[in-house]
Symmetry: C2
Amino acid sequence: MTLTGNLLIGATEYSPTRGTLLALDPSTDTTIEPAFALGGIEEVDRAARLADEAFDSYNATTLAVRAAFLERIADGLDAAAPELAQRASLETGLPAAQLEGEAARAATQFRQFAQVVRQGRFRQATIDPAQPERQPRARMDHRMQKIALGPIAVFGASNFPISYSVAGGDTASALAAGCPVVVKAHNAHPGASEIQARVIREAVAASGLHEGVFSMIRGEGTQVGEALVDHPLISGVAFTGSEGGGMALYRRAQSRPDPIPVFAEMTSVNPTFVLPDALAARGHVIGDGFAERMLVNVGQACLKPAILLAVDGPGFDALKAAMIARVDAMHARTMLTPGIFQAYRQNVERVRATGAAQIAEGASGEGRWDGRPALFEVSGAHMLEEPSLSEEVFGPSALLVRVADVEQLVALARQFRGQLSATLHADAADHPLAARLLPILERRTGRVVINAFAHPQEVSYASIHGGPFPATTDSRFTSVGMSAIERFLRPVCYQGFPDALLPEALRHDNPLGIWRLTDGEPARTQA
Amino acid sequence: MTLTGNLLIGATEYSPTRGTLLALDPSTDTTIEPAFALGGIEEVDRAARLADEAFDSYNATTLAVRAAFLERIADGLDAAAPELAQRASLETGLPAAQLEGEAARAATQFRQFAQVVRQGRFRQATIDPAQPERQPRARMDHRMQKIALGPIAVFGASNFPISYSVAGGDTASALAAGCPVVVKAHNAHPGASEIQARVIREAVAASGLHEGVFSMIRGEGTQVGEALVDHPLISGVAFTGSEGGGMALYRRAQSRPDPIPVFAEMTSVNPTFVLPDALAARGHVIGDGFAERMLVNVGQACLKPAILLAVDGPGFDALKAAMIARVDAMHARTMLTPGIFQAYRQNVERVRATGAAQIAEGASGEGRWDGRPALFEVSGAHMLEEPSLSEEVFGPSALLVRVADVEQLVALARQFRGQLSATLHADAADHPLAARLLPILERRTGRVVINAFAHPQEVSYASIHGGPFPATTDSRFTSVGMSAIERFLRPVCYQGFPDALLPEALRHDNPLGIWRLTDGEPARTQA
């Protein structure tokens, strides 16, 4: 695939109107060709208008047409995977083999959403048939289905340049919902972004859809992103990235004359609680597994387990020794961008400045932007006094908390703000304590894991990648998993409709054969 | 029931800390005893803390206990209905008979939510069983259910002093979700509010629940409401009222350090489109029916049909004559509050000032706060030039739009902002035009009605009382109907859990016998 560096707005390519940028290979600190076009508010306006024009026809696509479109994207991602992984590796410093896996998972995700579309349950078709004889007054026929929210702006993350980027879960779920998508490409991987965007726009064309179903724009600084969030024809925003970036977009969207929903997935330290019997039985295994996971993707992962809490006692020293051994043995590795590297160094200094003891450090690397693994230890009492230690350090660093007793562990659990996940390591004898911690963790997280590590994650019906603030801006939704589609749907009730005017999902003879709720009971029958 | 006028925070009654207020009987312009306590931020804090203390135990109630609690409230509302209707009538000027019906519907609503709780589908239990043999890596067991969002602040409306007030749909759906509720009582009907609050707190006590499950506070001005929305232990807000009031709370909640969801139902003109064949066949019937509905509740209803659009042609004059006849024949009636009366007069003047022709006017009344019915007519061209004519006039006023042709009707449909509902009157020959209007209306409304009037509304599984901004602040939800509960729920995923630690809804043998999604298929079996 030839990269032109152009902005891809609908079916048209646009040359730069605000200069260009070059991608950086962070492992060699050198720039990479070609130059990528930067746009401004005119390009945002063009993309948003096209998306709006595309809305009616795309929202009205049959389930079969929409599912086939998503599968074309999946096929395109598969075909482009080697090239995409290579380019993404150049731009991120992440291993190409890992990125081929990420491309494969992204393709799988589009196929899964095609399946969700075919099943038709996302419509949440609900039917309350007429009750002409009801007293004291008759009930009219009421039918409800969910339709697309409107054009969606997607802001991808830097750290997973495929599965949380242009062809990631936000785009897949918004397209599955029937929403046209305008992606603001992340400037840290413009080439990988272009490859993904070309795959999607080719699928748009091959499926005979309105060109406005997908556009990708790019800009320097915050102007283009802000213009996108401000645009009156944009109906919702999906964002993955830092708390600062996410909140800036969130607050901006809420300040519009007509506020729009923003789902921003932002920050999480994913605390791990090792309960006494599990600690005694397998402290070493847990410490080793934790440290392995914290170093995946050079610690640049939303699900990185960043804090391990264990009550001091049998197994603690083995756990700690295993963590130290793995961190000490790991070399520094290239971080995604110079900015992320610098922030990592500053955050490690911030942890150090609280008085936390550094108990392990990976070897320094040769690259300019190589992040050195770091492991700190604090007492539970210290942690209770320093809530800033619960803030994320994006990169290969973690914190071991030596907890005095069970009551202190419970107090520490209560101190955490919203999280994407929390993990318990618990044996049978730990279950009473696990049951005590569970309501505390349910209230603070989107996912609780027992005896495993939260990464990598499933894309399935039950998966949740969400959680209370500041993990996300709306704990009622998820950005990963089949129910991610719900962010981009809204209900419409049809009252007293003749069958001929009803949408297909709600017709009497259920021509789509989908699950529907009739008088409160699920069924696939006519109604 | 003896009204004390106290603030009802948990199980305790609190005397005024910020003075008192007296209710006004708007029909006689006289005040009514007793004096009602006003509180301040200390009372808000007390109620929010109690709600937070109640959260864990209330969220963990079994389906049976929670359903029985809701049914106790229903029984209490039934028992209190005559007294409640009488007091509400005194405080609002609305007929007691109508308010008895409203009390009965409020009780029914609690019973319906009890049924929703028993069905257990609100948990949206979803199970992706382990796949230990899956390649390239095994899948762990993932289970998801929805739990309560947290303590909810409810702001009721002035116009339906029961069904959209203390014991209205917001409280019923939040309690059904497992959320403790703090109601800020509306100062226009403090006595009706106290009666409802006493019913709910008696049910809390009789059900053996934590007292913090329900509190009612009251304050003057905006301080108490703002303190409630600001309180760090409040997790969500439900509001019904004006666009000004709703947006003030919305923007405040979004400015918190940790923004919280706000569902505000605010404003709608519920446009009615009369298509040519229906107009020719039954213009008189439609005009008469429309005018009847616009006058219900003295036009003080969120679903009041406020604008009727019809293409000039056969039947138009009959439609217009029927509307005029009914409006001219109607006497002025007491409006809810002096403030609402004054705003109504100002809004009628605003319509007049646009050059709209007043074609009918009800007789003036004897009461000081009696609102006179008013009917205006404008051309479609005039309406296109004066978008302010699409803004709500809260009260017994409506606008007839004489549309030049079908293209102008389509253009007018596109001009509307978000609405709770839109209505089409259409005969078979009108179906092609109806089909053309439908996508325009779906995108702008939460409900489309054919050949009926939107009021009164059903509380059922398919009912939607929501819509795009400014009808509500989040078009993805509804404040009426069984799915109103979804505003107050959030998903939690349980990964790798032993059966003993799983919540009941997710256990292998499905002890609750509820519908669950297993590997993407609905079933009531074990998994």
